[in-house]
């Protein structure tokens, strides 16, 4: 359980035979998705610096964890992401446009496509784990073959809700996956200071649920692990806690400066050697599945996709003050309607002609 499961080494070699389990098409798809989300993430940071996005939470370095886990899901499965899991949400069907809108502070950003079950990015730590557990419980009660996945960070494992969710999951044997990206830090606090347990996966034992520790920069290992957990959950095999060991190269958010609390350059460099995207590319090239020409074409396409999503997001109707009063309740109560009218009146009068 505390062993780190790895399939694709940093050098782009296979540590075990996966023939028949991951097809070449799937491998290429994984790579393309990781490149897309990495480019998207970098773009967001630039946009934040230009003042076109608000504070942004980057994930570069965690592509394999997010993409690999989300690709193991089916369309009807429920996803409960945190503020850092845009890549997972995008892979599961969220649009780039809405992710941009979220970081633009737009009120309509958390609406997911109608046929998808992707919840809003969860800002309070660990709280979404219980929702995932509840949704999974309902799937079980309704006899549906869907699973729920909650994303969390290593810091989240300190919150009470983490333990409550694992405990409920164990007791009710719900088809729920808790997918922890252990990126080593919860803002400034290293994992060693977050918890005395050596691994997160070992905590599964306390609740008697399935626990796995996986190289989070190895998309094959992540995909196989989550795929396996999803399949057992679907057929009543119960919950899982998966610890994906990874690293986020950048700051906690664009408002944070990691140099204050970690040896940023050395650490980032060290982790670059284990980079999830480069690793897969090396492998694909060795297999003759990918070349420079394909790379250039895909880069171009990714660039266009992102630019057009950005254009759409920036052209999205500007939120109107009246919007903030909508959807507080199914039916607007009198006091909210009056407050909406009051604000409209003030705005119409240019503020102050009374």
């Amino acid at each position: 359980m505390t062993k780190l499961y790895q399939v694709l080494t940093p050098e782009g070699e296979l540590a075990e035979d996966i023939s028949g389990r991951i097809t070449p098409d799937l491998m290429i798809d994984m790579y393309k998705k990781m490149v897309l989300v990495r480019t998207f993430d970098r773009k967001c940071i630039i946009l934040q610096r230009q003042g076109r996005l608000g504070t942004y939470a980057p994930f570069e370095g965690q592509e394999a964890a997010q993409v690999g886990s989300a690709m193991a899901l089916r369309a009807g499965d429920w996803m409960f992401p945190t503020y850092r899991d845009h890549a997972a949400a995008i892979v599961h069907g969220h649009s780039l446009v809405r992710v941009f809108l979220y970081w633009m502070g737009h009120s309509d950003a958390s609406v997911c496509p109608e046929d998808k079950r992707i919840l809003p990015q969860c800002v309070p730590i660990a709280t979404q784990m219980l929702h995932a557990m509840g949704a999974a419980w309902a799937s079980k009660l309704k006899g549906e073959q869907t699973v729920s996945i909650a994303y969390l960070g290593d810091g989240a494992t300190s919150e009470g809700d983490f333990h409550e969710a694992l405990n409920f999951a164990g007791v009710f044997r719900a088809p729920v996956l808790f997918f922890c990206q252990n990126n080593g830090y919860a803002i400034s606090v290293p994992f060693s200071r977050q918890s005395a347990s050596r691994t997160i996966a070992q905590r599964a034992a306390a609740y008697d649920i399935h626990g796995v520790r996986v190289d989070g920069n190895d998309v094959f290992a992540v995909w196989l692990t989550v795929q396996d957990a999803v399949q057992r959950a679907r057929v009543g095999g119960g919950p899982a806690l998966i610890e994906a060991v990874t690293f986020r190269y950048g700051a906690h958010t664009t408002a944070d400066d990691p140099k204050k609390y970690r040896d940023q350059e050395v650490l980032a460099q060290e982790w670059r050697r284990r980079d999830p995207v480069d690793r897969l590319r090396r492998f694909l090239e060795k297999q003759g599945l990918w070349n420079d020409e394909q790379e250039a074409a895909w880069q171009r396409q990714v660039g266009e996709t992102i630019e057009s999503a950005l254009a759409e997001a920036e052209a999205f109707p500007k939120p109107q003050p009246a919007d903030m009063f909508a959807h507080v309740y199914a039916e607007m109560p009198w006091h909210i309607r009056e407050q909406q009218q009051e604000l409209q009146r003030v705005l119409n009068e240019g503020g102050m002609q009374a």
Binding site: T55, I125, E159, A186, R193, D256, K260, D323, Q340, G351
Partner: protein, 327 residues
């Protein structure tokens, strides 16, 4: 001696001086040590006092508040930082069920002298749940004191008083004015008493009550109105929301005959409702007009593209003043 400090610097200085002054004082919170706090309120303190007195805790608000209660029971004076007000919710149980009630339940045998500091309020374009203003939750809880500074001078003096207070104090720091301006702050330790409001500006036509970041909005509106219409407003910074400074509020309303309350928290069951009830009880017959309140709306604080529309604006306050005086 005094020099100009921002509110953030004044808060840091209060903690620094109390850490030196009293070995029982310790700081607890997420990212407050090496990182110096997400707003840098505790910057440099771990270097000066060590990791046993400036403690980076695991990410667990219930854990932080709950252990602080135990520390306080056993002779320490914990000053807790909650990263943003809304993140106190996981620790809410410990605040309201235990910190607030320990003295009462033990008939004074045990008490919990601790401070919970937290940035709060909108206006800094933060992400969701970084802008809440839910002071009512705490002002609704017997056993707590709720303090909100509006200036660097008050922030230092009130925080020192809060740390020395024998009861648990929720100390709300208005994020928007953390660094917005500086003012003269004495170098020595001084106290601003908890429970006392401050008359910021005397006036005769209307009393305006505000706190935190809204004080500046109220001041601007009052100055504009005075220039444009010649009406003079008395502006009062409540500074402590629980318990309220009844004498100051009632005295002012008796003098001006009119009242307006400005707060950024939601309107329904916000502090203004309580202040109106108090005036009703004590000064009804002095009133020349209904008391008005200019507040945030009864909606979740919206994403930042609309937060300026959520917050009370100078224009709305001026409208409130005008409607009250012309009633």
């Amino acid at each position: 001696m005094s020099r100009k400090l921002t509110m953030l610097q004044a808060i840091r200085e209060a903690m620094d001086q109390k850490l030196t002054d009293d070995p029982r004082v310790m700081l607890l919170g997420e990212d407050i040590g090496v990182n110096g706090g997400v707003f840098r309120a505790t910057e440099g303190l771990i270097e000066k006092y060590g990791a046993e007195r400036v403690v980076d805790t695991p990410l667990a608000e219930s854990g932080i508040v709950g252990t602080a209660i135990g520390l306080a029971l056993n002779g320490m004076i914990p000053v807790v930082e909650i990263q943003f007000l809304a993140f106190i919710y996981p620790g809410f149980e410990q605040v309201v069920s235990h910190a607030a009630r320990m003295r009462y339940r033990t008939r004074g045998q045990f008490s919990v002298p601790m401070v919970i500091r937290t940035p709060y309020g909108a206006g800094i374009r933060g992400p969701e749940l970084h802008s809440e203003s839910v002071e009512t939750f705490f002002a609704h809880t017997p056993g707590l004191k709720v303090v909100v500074p509006a200036t660097p001078y008050d922030a230092k003096g009130l925080l020192i008083s809060a740390i020395e207070d024998p009861d648990p104090v929720v100390f709300l720091e208005p994020t928007k004015i953390y660094r917005a301006f500086s003012e003269e702050v004495p170098e020595e330790m001084y106290r601003v008493p908890i429970g006392k409001a401050r008359v910021v500006q005397e006036g005769s036509d209307l009393s305006i009550f505000a706190w935190g970041a809204m004080l500046r909005v109220a001041m601007k509106a009052a100055a504009d109105i005075e220039r444009e219409k010649g009406w003079s407003c008395e502006v009062i910074d409540l500074r402590t929301l629980y318990p309220l400074d009844r004498d100051c509020i009632i005295g002012s309303v008796k003098k001006t005959g009119r009242a307006l309350i400005v707060h950024e928290a939601h309107k329904t069951a916000g502090m203004a409702a309580e202040i109106i009830a108090l005036i009703n009880d004590e000064a009804l017959l002095y009133l020349k007009a209904p008391i008005r309140r200019i507040t945030g709306f009864d909606v979740p604080v919206p994403q930042f593209s609309l937060e300026d529309d959520y917050l009370p604006t100078e224009a709305r306050v001026k409208l409130g003043i005008t409607e009250t005086i012309l009633f």
